[in-house]
C-alpha cells in the first residue's frame, strides 16, 4: 500500500468516525472533561431579578441630595417588604433584591448615617444595579452541544440546574504490545530483552483524553496469539491499539491479523517521521491501530492519529488547537519527503525552541517538551523566525 499524507489519514479517520458511541447522563461532579451531547438553555433570566451590585442603600435617584429615612434592611436572599417612596431608602446588601420604587444603590462608603437617617455624600454615584436578564434572558442558549466540559462549564450547568448533564459516552481503548523481546516493567530485562513501556504509556495517553482503558500488556510475536488477543479485545472495546509488527519484516503480523479479522485497512504507511509504518483499520464499527514498537514513534502516532479519533468519537472537534509560533533557531534536514516532528519548548519569547533530540529512540527528549513542531513536506530548511505548527502534547 502506498504512503499517504497526514492530512489524508486524518480525513479517513474523520470520515470513519461520524457515528458516535451514544450518550449517557453523568452526575455533574463526574462530568468534568466530558463532552455535552445536547444544547443547554437557561431556565431563568440572569440575573433572575433586579439586584444590588454593592453593599449600600437603595434610593430614588432624584432624591440623592435629600436626607432619607431607612425603612428596612435587605440582605441577599430576603424579599424586600417596603416600597421606596419619597424621603425613604432601605439598607441593601450585594446580591440582594432591589425594593420597589428604588432605581439606584449608593455605596455605603458614600453615605453618612445618622440614626435612622442617611445622607449621600457622593452625588456622582453610579446606579449599582444589576438588571434582570442583562446577562442572559430565559431560554437563551447557554452551552452548545459539543462543549468540552471544564470547571467553568460545571459552574454554568449548576447555575441553570443541570445536575446530570447528557454527555457522549467515552470510548473504551484496549492496548497491548507485541514482541518476544518485551518483559514487564516490573522485571529487570537481560539483554537482548527490554521493558515494555509502550502499553502503559498508551494507556495513560488514552486516560488523559478521558477514555476508559484495558492494559493487556504484552503478547509474543505469534500470529495466532495476536489474532486471539485482538479478537477478545474487540469484544470489550471500541478501539484496539497494538504496537510493534507494523512494518513489513518477517515478524510483522499486524497487517495479516487485520486481514484475518476481515477488517478494512485504510492505510499502512504515512509520510511522517518518526512513525511511517502505522496501520489504521475498521471492523464492524470498531477501530484498530497498529502503531510502531518504538515508544517515541508510537507517542507521535498517538498524538497525530489516535487523539483525533478519540476527540471525534465524543463529538469534539477532531483536531487539537495548532499554535503558529516562530522557531528560535535555524534548522535543517537532508530529506524532505515526510513531515518531520520534533520536540520543542515554548520559551519566554513565545518561540518554539527545539529540544536536543537524537531521533526516534530518544523518548527522553519529549519529557520536557511543551509540544511537537513540524517540518512540512518538501521543506529542508527552517530559518530562525519562520512560523512553525506546534501541537501541544
Amino acid at each position: 500500500m502506498i504512503m499517504i499524507k497526514l492530512e489524508e489519514a486524518l480525513e479517513i479517520i474523520s470520515k470513519s468516525s461520524v457515528e458516535l458511541l451514544g450518550v449517557e447522563r453523568l452526575l455533574l461532579e463526574n462530568s468534568l472533561n466530558g463532552v455535552l451531547a445536547e444544547d443547554v438553555f437557561t431556565d431563568m433570566d440572569f440575573p433572575s431579578f433586579n439586584k444590588s451590585a454593592m453593599d449600600g442603600y437603595a434610593i430614588q435617584k432624584i432624591e440623592i441630595d435629600k436626607k432619607l429615612r431607612v425603612l428596612e434592611f435587605i440582605p441577599a436572599g430576603k424579599k424586600p417588604e417596603k416600597t421606596i417612596v419619597s424621603g425613604t431608602c432601605s439598607k441593601i446588601m450585594t446580591g440582594a433584591m432591589l425594593p420597589h420604587g428604588a432605581d439606584m444603590v449608593v455605596m455605603q462608603e458614600d453615605v453618612v448615617v445618622d440614626g435612622d437617617f442617611i445622607s449621600v455624600e457622593n452625588l456622582n454615584s453610579k446606579s449599582n444595579i444589576l438588571k434582570q436578564g442583562e446577562d442572559l434572558k430565559v431560554g437563551s442558549l447557554l452551552l452548545k452541544k459539543g462543549t468540552h466540559i471544564k470547571p467553568v462549564h460545571i459552574g454554568l450547568l449548576a447555575s441553570i440546574g443541570i445536575t446530570e448533564p447528557l454527555v457522549y459516552k467515552q470510548p473504551v481503548v484496549s492496548v497491548f504490545s507485541t514482541g518476544n523481546e518485551l518483559v514487564s516493567p516490573h522485571q529487570k530485562p537481560e539483554p537482548p530483552k527490554i521493558r515494555n513501556s509502550n502499553s502503559v504509556q498508551l494507556v495513560s495517553l488514552s486516560n488523559s483524553m478521558g477514555a476508559k482503558t484495558h492494559n493487556l500488556e504484552q503478547v509474543d510475536d505469534n500470529m495466532d496469539l495476536i489474532f486471539d488477543t485482538v479478537k477478545k479485545a474487540l469484544a470489550v472495546s471500541d478501539i484496539v491499539v497494538l504496537t510493534g509488527g507494523a512494518s513489513v519484516g518477517d515478524y510483522d503480523f499486524t497487517a495479516d491479523v487485520f486481514d484475518r479479522l476481515k477488517a478494512e485497512t485504510h492505510f499502512t504507511r504515512l509520510a511522517i517521521q518518526p512513525g511511517k509504518p502505522v496501520l489504521f483499520a475498521t471492523v464492524e464499527g470498531k477501530y484498530l491501530f497498529g502503531l510502531s514498537g518504538n515508544p517515541v514513534s508510537s507517542f507521535v502516532q498517538f498524538q497525530l492519529l489516535v487523539k483525533p479519533l478519540l476527540n471525534s468519537l465524543v463529538g469534539k472537534e477532531a483536531g487539537e488547537k495548532i499554535f503558529k509560533l516562530p522557531i528560535s533557531i535555524h534548522k535543517k534536514r537532508k530529506k524532505s519527503e515526510r513531515m518531520l516532528f520534533f520536540p520543542i519548548r515554548i520559551n519566554e519569547k513565545m518561540e518554539a525552541e527545539p529540544i536536543d533530540y537524537h531521533g526516534s529512540a530518544h523518548l527522553n527528549a519529549y519529557q520536557i517538551a511543551d509540544g511537537m513542531a513540524s517540518f512540512p513536506m518538501g521543506i529542508n530548511e527552517l530559518k530562525k523566525g519562520d512560523i512553525v505548527d506546534v501541537r501541544p502534547i
Copy 2:
C-alpha cells in the same frame, strides 16, 4: 487591612507553603498528574545493548562489496548465537541484538538474496546501529524530583522499572458557599434566591488540579454555623475554601470566623479586578481562603491564588506558565489602581482576543475563553499589538 498587590499575595502564599504534605507511593497507572518526590535514575544503559535500527543484515563493513553467507536469523529478543566472520552475515530484525563481529546493518531493501547468500546493492548504506548507552548511560538522572507526571513520563518510568513512583501527597480541599440566598443546584430558586454554583465549580477546579475534594455545599449567613463548618472541615482537609462573606458588610463573617479560629490572616484585600475582597489565612499548618460569592470573582481568585498554593503544596513550580501575546484590539479602562483580568481567546494569529464581557456577574464570558489576560496596575490603555500576560485557564 490594606489592599496589597497580587505579587505580594503570591509571595505570602509561597512562603507559607514551603512545607509539603508528605509523600506516598502510587501504582504507576494511577500516578498520572502526580508530582515526582524523588530524582529517578536509569538502572541500565539506553539502549542496553548494541541493536539494529532496521530490518536487514548484520555484516562487517569492510566486506560490504562481497557475497556473504547468512549464518542465522536474529529476531528482537533472541541472543545471536554466531559471530560474524569474513564472508558471513546474519539476518537481523529492528531492535534485535547485534551479533559479535558485525559493525553495520544493511537494510533488506538494499540487498539481493540468493539462497543462503546475499549481496549488497547500495554501498553507501548507513551503519544502522544503535550503540549501547548512546541515549543514556546507567545511573543517569532520568527524571527530576518535581516532575509533573504526564503520559510520556509514565512511559519513561516503566522503561526503568519504576512501577510505584514516589509522589507528593495531593492536598484535600473542602469547599462551601455561604449565603441565605443560595439553594442547591437541584432546586429551582424563587427570586431573590439563586442557585449555588460556586461550590461545585471550585470543587471541579480543585479536582482538575489533582486535589481530593469535599463539597460541603451551602451554609447560611450565621457566624456560629460558618465557624463550626470551617472547624469540622479543617479536621479532614489541608485547605478550606469558602465563598461569600469576604467583604466588610453586616453579613460578612469570614474575617471574624478566621479570627475566632485563631488563624493568622495574611491579607483581606487584593489590588485585582474582579475579586478585590479575598482572605487568606493559615492555622496549624492548614490553609483558609475566603473567596468572593460572585462566581466570576471566585473563579479568577482561584486561578490567581488557590492554584499556585495547590501547585506549591505538591512541589510543583507555584506559578503557571504565563504567555506573552499581542492583544488583538485597542482596549481602554477608566481606573487603573487594580490589575484587571478579562477573558480572551487565542486566535489564529496567536493574538489575545478579548471576549465580550459584561463584568463580574458574567461567568458565561469565560466559557469560551482560552485564558485570562491582564491590564497591569497604572495602565489605562492597551494598544493593538501591545504584549499582554495571558494565564491559561
